[in-house]
Symmetry: C2
DNA sequence: GCTTGACATGTAACGCGTTCCAAGGTTTAG
DNA sequence: CTAAACCTTGGAACGCGTTACATGTCAAGC
């Protein structure tokens, strides 16, 4: 392994000049540059990343924190890895499994300068704890954090939900049920708001019994249909908070010999792979756009320049369940 | 940001002693240790990761190389991240998108000591090119590499395929078709071997027309069924090289009003999330076990000690398609 | 011809731990 | 009581680039 010092000695120039060549400094004469590059080539030299990181105080690495790796998370990561790669940043994954201590590791790594910045996908630690690390580097989050120093790229769900609703209403569905996720979450609140406002706008019935909460998984979706079947005032459509739930609803509906979408229309959320496989109408969530914005939010601290966020919007992907 | 040097000055001890405390060296008196630890606490000191990496020549980071992030890859990564984390190693992702140059980046990073070792999940570069980097650090691969210095944790598909076949035969299916992947791959060869040997063993017909090749996706699976329907000598079961294909086969079979599994039994491979969702019988591929083994193979170079690989085996997950 | 400035290059300190070797002090065995 | 053995601690070099500041050179400007 040759070092910069060796290159300097072999070429007869100083370390500074060699370093200038490496960093494409304009203050090197073309001949010198040539000579040094030739020697680097010969000796198969590459600069040691750790030495650079140490002296620059930057690692060009960004940490991504997540509890686990779901398809959605993956799409986000993919988008984020993509754009940060374009700017020369590597990404490193911290899967916490929901363990606070393990998650803290990632923040400690920001402090010890293993990473220059952090992206939170899902986190379990207290916002106050997390924000105390802001002084060591930029932190952005996908999930909303409610802290001025930790911006989030989460989108307001109102528009997406409204889009799905308008579509259902347009198709003639009027008795629309909701499978919400975490009851207290901001997402659920804005979805619910969208629902209530739209139903009012079209003078359609709002039935408290058509609200399901804490519905997350395929299994939960199946449960919803089962409980639906015991009703007399059955809804004719159901809006799900994610595609997993929609998949569960769909498979159980079929098992119950419901004709989808005639007896029951189903709309999912996120436009995941699963929804495509199963032909579920869903709301396209521009996840990689959000991922890009996440990086752009880090740009000031990472690249020293502000970058404009791109505007994002939901769109409807019509398939066979509506 | 306090540094080790400051801690040394504040405590009145030398840097060496402070470093010993950090590294849990036994050659420090308890009182000294206490004092130094107290000062570290006070000044909110954490050692700089880059300085450690530079002087130790090790970063405690392992790179994972993949073209993209599919569910299977993810499961492997998850397992790998898990076990390497247990031994204090961070993992960093290199998604190459199938770009040779981008992939080479990862290998260069091994050379520049950004990572201590590399895990190849999928790679597009020539084995000779890759193996030239072995001198800079250990490399293991999931996919078979056919090079003595790059061990692989891929499993021989023979057993898994045989398992599925035995199951089908036991259930009374005799006309069994195959949806293979890449025709020339080792996996396909061993699967085919398993098929031919087992069919011979049970004196069952082997029909060349029941071999499909280059079948990878849901869409491909659907195509297979369509082409099957045009046949008079239709098979009564089909063994798919992965669950995606099986899902395609299943959905098209249903569309064609075939009764699964009576008219057509379907077996997938990998036991992916999708197979569970759709109730497809499949072969459980112990992916996280392979991931662990991948790490264990790196252990000698990373931890300086040999670790025994765990034996792995396929198993059958019986569901509703057989 | 002399000053000014642009440009090429060098010097040396710095970033921050780790580790080999040596030294001073103390305990233990003989 | 002394020599060997051990423990605790320090000194200083090392790992490898980066960078602020200094120096030397040559050409343009007056």
């Amino acid at each position: 392994m040759s070092t910069l010092d060796e290159i300097a000695k072999l070429s007869g120039f100083s370390k500074a000049t060699v370093s200038r060549v490496l960093n494409h400094s304009p203050h090197v004469s073309p001949e010198t540059r040539e000579k040094i590059l030739a020697i680097m080539e010969e000796t198969d030299y590459v600069p040691n990343r750790n030495a650079i990181s140490l002296s620059k105080g930057q690692t060009q690495q960004i940490g991504m924190i997540t509890m686990d790796l779901s398809e959605l998370i993956l799409r986000f990561m993919n988008g984020f890895v993509e754009i940060s790669g374009r700017y020369g940043f590597q990404t490193i994954i911290y899967t916490t499994g929901g363990d606070k201590q393990k998650e803290l590791q990632a923040f400690e790594d920001l402090k010890r300068k293993r990473v220059d910045a952090l992206l939170i996908l899902t986190s379990v630690n207290d916002t106050n704890v997390i924000s105390s690390y802001c002084k060591y580097g930029s932190i952005v989050s996908w999930q909303r954090m409610d802290h001025p120093e930790i911006p989030s790229v989460a989108m307001n769900q109102y528009d997406g939900y409204a889009l799905a609703l308008e579509h259902l209403i347009e198709r003639g569905y009027t008795r629309i049920a909701n499978a919400f996720g975490r009851p207290s979450s901001i997402n659920t609140r804005s979805r619910r708001l969208a629902y209530e406002q739209l139903m009012a706008k079209y003078s359609l019935p709002v039935n408290e019994k058509w609200y399901y909460s804490s519905i997350y998984s395929i299994r939960d979706g199946e449960q919803v249909v089962k409980s639906l079947m015991e009703r007399t005032d059955r809804p004719d459509a159901i809006l799900c908070s994610n595609d997993l739930v929609a998949a569960g609803v769909l498979s159980e509906a079929r098992r119950q010999r419901l004709d989808v979408p005639r007896d029951l229309a189903i709309v999912g959320f996120d436009n995941s792979e699963l929804s495509r496989t199963l032909g579920i109408t869903t709301v396209r969530n521009p996840i990689s756009g959000q991922a890009e914005n996440a990086f752009l939010l880090l740009a000031p601290s990472l690249l020293g320049r502000n970058m404009e966020l791109q505007p994002l919007s939901f769109s409807l992907v019509k398939r066979e369940t509506t």
